[in-house]
């Protein structure tokens, strides 16, 4: 066995069956650029690909071009914000999915499945119907959604730990139970409210949508995405250690209790802000990290950047589908992610069971 020393490949190289990390990141970066271009160009009014960036460049530098105002409005004020918001939300949900799966040591975790998104939706709806947190102005919905997801996080994890050992089965059950209760709360608030418009906006919250996005909607989610992802990347080593088990992580010098508390905050913030702008879009946090791991392995230093890029690409395309499938009408993106993600979840459940390690 020791004879293999001379012939074994140098350490620090990636696993043979995996693609090189840098290749994947470059491809994903190019993919994201192409995705944004196509997603802005495609629609009832087709825009030439080069024109997409000509208009964007002209808007940023304040120049004019030889295109109509209508074309410029469609590209810059309708499609760009929507596409970018889709990308930001997809990236954010993927980052939450990756870290949540590390915390519970199970690839089946996702903010939607664990009811966290529903909690955020309750917070958002409270603001819409009762004007809670009015002093916070435009940020009220984000703050309320953050508070809603943090409280739900704590409730779901407390429930899963009650009466003995924490298990993934209990966690998913308590997540599903909380999601039901919280959806009921959302429906109750909506149906008993005397605001007629509320029902429609709540509907879009519960189904998830990035339609009607505005440039102004982008700043908070973009900042939270950047800060959240940066924090998680800095914690990539402790996240790796956590996947080996809490006790192992502790013996490797990770202060597990404090670290987990911080992760809950970061994940709640990401989930809350993404839900505040787009509603509860399910399964992105489940599907995307899994595919990222298949491409580059489990190390969070590689999974996180790839999942974030791929999450953006994924949700932008799903939103293109949402716009195109029954055009000129639209589907909420959440409907499509559920149609794709539900079967994926079942497949994941079936394959992890087969390995006999389905419960942590």
């Amino acid at each position: 066995m020791s004879a293999g020393a001379a012939t074994s490949p140098a350490l620090g190289q990636w696993h043979a069956s995996r693609l090189a990390f840098s290749t994947v990141v470059v491809l994903m970066g190019i993919g994201l650029f192409v995705t944004i271009t196509l997603a802005v160009a495609i629609g009832p009014v087709q825009i030439p690909f080069t024109r997409v960036w000509q208009i964007a460049f002209a808007q940023i530098t304040g120049q004019d071009g030889d295109w109509s105002l209508a074309q410029s409005n469609i590209v810059w004020h309708l499609r760009f914000p929507r596409v970018l918001l889709g990308g930001i939300v997809g990236a954010g949900l993927a980052a939450v999915g990756v870290s949540m799966q590390a915390v519970v040591r199970n690839p089946l975790a996702d903010p939607y499945i664990l009811g966290i998104s529903s909690g955020a939706a309750v917070g958002a709806v409270l603001v819409l119907s009762f004007g809670v947190l009015a002093f916070a102005g435009a940020y009220a919905i984000s703050i309320a959604a953050f508070a809603g997801s943090l409280l739900t996080f704590l409730a779901v994890f407390t429930l899963a730990r009650i009466g003995g050992q924490f298990s993934t089965g209990r966690l998913i059950l308590s997540g599903v139970a909380c999601a039901y209760v919280l959806s009921g709360v959302t429906s109750f608030i909506t149906l008993t409210s005397d605001k007629d418009e509320l029902a429609r906006s709540v509907m879009s919250w519960m189904l998830g949508s990035v339609a009607g996005a505005d440039w102004l909607d982008l700043s908070v989610p973009a900042l939270v995405l950047l800060a959240g992802t940066a924090y998680l990347l800095l914690c990539a080593r402790p996240l790796n250690a956590l996947l080996m088990g809490e006790e192992t992580a502790a013996t490797l010098g990770v202060d597990v209790v404090r670290f987990r508390r911080r992760l809950f905050l970061v994940m709640s913030l990401l989930t809350g802000v993404m839900v505040a702008v787009s509603g509860a879009i399910g399964f992105v946090g489940l599907v995307v990290p899994h595919i990222a791991r298949m491409l580059v392995g489990t190390d969070h230093r590689r999974v996180l950047p790839v999942a974030v890029l791929f999450g953006a690409i994924f949700l932008i395309w799903v939103d293109v589908g949402a716009r195109m499938i029954i055009a000129p009408s639209e589907l909420p993106v959440g409907v499509i992610t559920s149609l794709l993600g539900g079967p994926f979840f079942i497949w994941l459940l079936a394959t992890t069971r087969r390995k006999g390690v389905g419960n942590a």
Binding site: M1, S2, G4, A5, T7, S8, P9, L11, G12, Q13, H15, A16, R105, N106, P107, L234, C235, R237, P238, N240, A241, L243, M244, G245, E247, T248, A250, T251, L252, G253, V254, D255, R293, G297, T298, D299, T352, K355, G356, V357, G358, A360
Partner: protein
């Protein structure tokens, strides 16, 4: 003062004492076997020592530092731990598992350096698993996994090694192999072991626990006596030393 010591360590859950007033000292370079029947508090004692379970009373010292007044990272640089491996749904390569041993030495912004990879390489070589580096950890056999976890502990470059029943679920060849390698490291080691013959063969000293207390401590041939084994385990034992001085213990059932 001993290199590692505990002073009156106690730990209780819901008022039920699991470990009671345990004081022990380990000299640098010693290989100590911790033995005792199931439920005697071995694992609990080890967990208070490696800073996972906060003792309800008493103190633990490693190299002069009081463990529970030192932060987790610092303790992880002094003390490496190998417990039994639990199944995971996530696929790390062997190299990725072993380089986790460098975590306590790394700040948030530090990248893995050439030196880190060299330490990982040496640790793998020490456990004779250099050619496993790129294999999936979860695809390995129990014995191979234990060697990977030992390599991770080596990469931690700690001067004190704690092993909690490291040979459980291993076949006899791999049990001997693992203990042989640990002994050759000449690192101060405290290992909870089930097999008294193995403990006698590899340990400089044996500490016997029963019902949360230490009932005996000393060289294997002094400690492993029929009277003690009858009292602690409730079995009849016949102990012989062969020509090379190696102990051989044969057990017989005393009845319920």
């Amino acid at each position: 003062m001993s290199f590692v010591s505990t002073q009156d360590i106690s730990w209780a859950v819901d008022g039920v004492p699991i470990v009671q007033d345990v004081s022990l000292g380990i000299e640098a370079g010693e290989f100590i076997g911790l033995v005792g029947p199931n439920g005697s508090g071995k694992s609990t004692l080890l967990r208070t020592i490696y800073r996972v379970l906060k003792p309800t009373g008493g103190a633990v010292f490693i190299d002069g530092n009081e463990v529970w007044k030192t932060d987790a990272r610092e303790v992880a640089r002094q003390c490496a731990v190998v417990t039994q491996e639990r199944a995971s749904d996530f696929e790390f390569t062997v190299e990725e598992v072993v380089i986790m041993g460098r975590i306590p030495h790394k700040g948030m912004l530090d990248a893995d350096t050439k030196a880190d990879h060299e330490i990982v390489r040496r640790s793998l070589a020490e456990m004779h698993i250099l050619d496993f580096a790129h294999r999936s950890f979860s695809s390995l056999s129990g014995g191979e996994k234990q060697r990977v976890l030992m390599a991770r502990a080596l990469a931690q470059q700690a001067r004190f090694l704690v092993l909690d029943e490291p040979t459980n679920h291993l076949d006899i060849r791999h049990q001997l192999d693992l203990l042989e390698r640990v002994r050759r490291l000449k690192v101060t080691t405290l290992a909870a072991l089930h097999d008294l013959n193995l403990a006698a063969q590899y340990c400089h000293r044996i500490i016997v626990m029963r019902a949360g207390r230490i009932v005996a401590s000393g060289a294997p041939r002094e400690v492993l006596q029929p009277d003690l084994l009858r009292e602690v385990y409730g079995v009849e034992a016949e102990i012989n030393a062969d020509r090379s001085g190696r102990l051989r213990i044969d057990f017989s059932y005393l009845g319920a």
